[in-house]
């Protein structure tokens, strides 16, 4: 089955057409030396040269979100529920590793409690993904976690930049297929399914040296105490860069902010690398050192979460590798674990 192609130069117009009136539009633009997904940016500034520094997480799970309001009247308190301010949105030219994070975290938001804030946003968000022809960055390792540079997971539409001028379109989800008309308006030609396969192959090829991390889970389960943690993570400074840039990290903190007679409750990003994350009121901290906190992060991503939800909590986007202030590479740690598992250590 052939796929339609568009002119690459038409992408900004496509973005506008998809967003139409009233939809929020998120797309990658350049800010200084790096790219960022930004809401409301000018589509003409669309920049696809590399993977953005932030993930698309913040558009479904904002860094800070009000979840209820309360007000005191005399000695009583009145609580008001708050609805997510979630209009329809288009995330345009997300990377596959970002799109793939959505099906990874969806079970989490719909487990014992259905998070209406995430779910309402998710339901109204269209994800148009821009596949990677080759790995855009040295830090990429999507193939290691079973994804690929042209993975369609989590995408409604997948765009393949098959060459320098043409972009092939694959409508992935029902929501994506509903938009056929919009895409057809930009149609300039067609490519064969085989050429998309070749594209995908080229992408995977560019990451040929990355290890499959299939034995990490097992290894972790047997190496809770291991010198590896100290060796790798004693350099960790305990910031939130990796967790906050990560498309799959989803921890949050609840904060009440009040004035004289009332206030609101907020759900804010939180991160397991902060020492306060597990600090008990008593003063006891079960994860009292940075290596323990780092171990927890790896364990959660590669063992605990897969155990519970059947998926690795990592899409191999490599942001935590590329942007760690002390160059503590998650890939280095998990691939070391894999190697040692392979060697039977």
């Amino acid at each position: 089955m052939p796929y339609m192609t568009l002119d690459r130069t038409d992408l900004p117009s496509l973005a506008e057409a998809l967003a139409g009136r009233g939809k929020r539009l998120v797309l990658p633009v350049r800010e200084g030396p790096e790219l960022f997904y930004r809401e409301g940016a000018d589509p003409a500034q669309l920049d696809l040269s590399t993977i953005p520094k932030n993930s698309i997480k913040e558009f479904l799970f904002p860094k800070s979100e009000k979840i209820l309001e309360y007000e005191y009247t005399g000695n009583d308190v009145v609580i008001d529920d708050v609805d997510p301010d979630a209009g329809p949105a288009v995330i345009f030219c997300a990377r596959p590793c970002d799109a793939a994070s959505l099906p990874v975290v969806e079970p989490l938001w719909n487990w014992d409690y259905k998070d209406k804030f995430f779910n309402e946003r998710r339901a109204q968000t269209l994800v148009v993904t821009y596949a990677c022809r080759t790995a855009p960055d040295d830090a990429c390792f999507c193939v290691s976690v079973g994804l690929s540079p042209s993975s369609d997971q989590g995408s409604d539409v997948l765009l393949y930049p098959v060459d320098d001028t043409r972009v092939a379109v694959r409508l992935v989800s029902p929501a994506g297929r509903e938009l056929e008309e919009v895409f057809s308006g930009f149609k300039k030609g067609e490519v064969s399914e085989e050429s998309l396969d070749a594209f995908a192959k080229e992408g995977e090829q560019s990451l040929a040296d990355r290890k499959r991390l299939d034995k990490v889970k097992n290894w972790l389960e047997g190496h809770f105490e291991d010198p590896l943690w100290e060796e790798k993570a004693s350099r960790c400074i305990g910031c939130g860069t990796c967790t906050f840039l990560c498309p799959t990290c989803h921890c949050f903190d609840i904060q009440d902010e009040s004035v004289f007679d009332g206030g609101c409750r907020l759900k804010n990003w939180d991160g397991c690398q902060f020492s306060l994350f597990t600090l008990h009121t008593s003063g006891h901290n079960p994860r009292d050192t940075q290596p323990k906190r780092y171990r927890q992060r790896i364990l959660h991503k590669y063992s605990i979460y897969p155990e519970k939800f059947g998926r690795i909590l990592c899409t191999g986007c490599g942001r935590c590798v590329a942007h760690c202030p002390v160059n503590l590479s998650l890939y280095d740690v998990v691939s070391t674990a894999q190697e040692r598992a392979e060697k039977g250590e």
Binding site: I237, T241, N268, P325, N327, S329
Partner: protein
Amino acid sequence: MSDRTEGIREIARKWLGDGTVEAVVGWEQGTYKDKTSPVLIRTPEEADRLLFNERCTNNLMTYLKREPVRGMEKVGIVAKGCDIKALIGLLQESQVEREKVKVIAVTCPGVKKDDGTVPVKCRACDVNTPTFYDEIVGEKVDSSPEPGARFEGLEALDAMTPAERFRFWRGELDKCIRCYACRQVCPLCICSRCIAEKNQPQWVETSPHPRGNFSWNLVRAYHLAGRCVECEACETACPVNIPLMLLNRAMARTVKGAFDYEAGKDPETQPPLRAFNLDDDNSFIL
């Protein structure tokens, strides 16, 4: 640079071998592109992992404030002149004991940022050849600070109206995600419990909304006033690229102008917010 690398390894081997130190904090080759990574070397054999090159941007002094280095009886640390300024700050504030820290100073012709450019701190550097250390490696590098380089970023800011400045900072600070990389990487953010983590009362709201971000970034800069040694670690670490050094340098300029003080110069001096003069500027107080 290779002779510096060799020099560092040699001293580290010796110190680790004869028990002078329990460990040496240095840089090793990183795993991403040409980045280096801080490393804790505990045996003479491992000393060969240590290196020095123009990508050794991290200020390792930040490790003195955290475990496991903090608890060590004696530790060696590799440092550029700019990093040593932070050590001087830590000594002034009694955060480290001089006898416990053995400094392998390395002369430095300047480092390069991830994007290949030269940081302001290198252009303004006055300590290419460190003067405060236990051992020094590398041939002498003369300092020739570029006049005006240190505060050049402030000129554009100064030229704005207050309203423009406010808009500029709103644009920058709204981006903050409160990952606290700036604080965690800073060698002089020494509090074990940051003011932003104290909630009785919550002076600084932890929410990464505009109000909370404004307060946080303001308080961070204020608490570093007269203490920041301009190592640029915060700005380098910031994942959302907030120009934090503009705030830090504005404070450095104020402190220089008002109190004739520069952080990281002399361990015997008093940081400016720990002292006062009877004849401090009074002109703005009506």
